[in-house]
Point group: C2
Chain length 150, copies 2
């Protein structure tokens, strides 16, 4: 269904305004479809994001390094890490070099959970499945360009 019909707006003032509205709308549309994947394992998107960051890190990383790499840089990273600790999916120890920081690592249990979720990745990709390979490249190129402004 078209954006115009979905939100009952007959026309947009400019194409640029429509881009803004379109991204908000598409983000929500996508979220709706991704939600069920995470609910299955009783995990939130932010928690999943952090787990993946930790798996991708070659060494233990600190809370602020995690935040830098997050898709949405939240103020609340340390408490999300704590929630993952409660679930035994990650662990943290005080950094020996700098006692202000903590070394956060993913646990074997956390890795197992991610491996389980990896199985869904193909299904996740299907959320963007209406696009051809060339389309996808194009979207990525254009969104990257958009963010170049600063």
């Amino acid at each position: 269904m078209s954006l115009e019909k979905d939100i009952n707006q007959t026309k947009f003032r400019t194409e640029h305004q429509k881009v803004i509205i379109n991204i908000i709308y598409t983000y929500n549309w996508m979220n709706e479809r991704l939600k069920s994947f995470f609910e299955k394992e009783d995990i939130t998107q932010q928690q999943f994001n952090i787990l993946r960051i930790l798996r991708g890190a070659v060494t233990p990383i600190s809370t602020s390094q995690i935040r830098e790499r997050m898709l949405d840089k939240m103020s609340d990273t340390s408490r999300i890490v704590d929630r993952l600790i409660t679930k035994s999916l990650v662990k943290k120890i005080i950094c020996s070099g700098d006692k202000r920081m903590v070394d956060v690592t993913i646990t074997p249990k956390g890795r197992k959970l991610l491996e389980k979720l990896d199985a869904f990745e193909l299904t996740m990709d299907a959320v963007a499945g209406a696009l051809t390979e060339a389309d996808a490249k194009n979207v990525n190129k254009l969104l990257d360009k958009m963010r170049l402004s600063s």
Copy 2:
């Protein structure tokens, strides 16, 4: 800056996965930039969205009609409307035809606020300003296509 560098991920498994990540990331990037516009008038994006829906409506509309037209369909629409009522930006009365529903309308004060914010619209567009007109059309076409899948 490229998405890869921003989130410290060297490569994406597929272009389609990157689309998903890119939309999440761009949405947050954009939000960060839009936030200040709304903070100026002490209003949230959802509240702004509802005000615009009400201004665009030719007749009073109900809470559920508002929800249908929102960019993110939230369960909590009736309480957001109430917050707008507290600010005297909208008003609601029980619908005479069907007493289950309410007729929500924007107040003159709400219109004034929107007019004030209209002045920022051009600045808002600048968030997507790195794109040419053709780029913008392309993004819109591709995002619309992506959502066609269901």
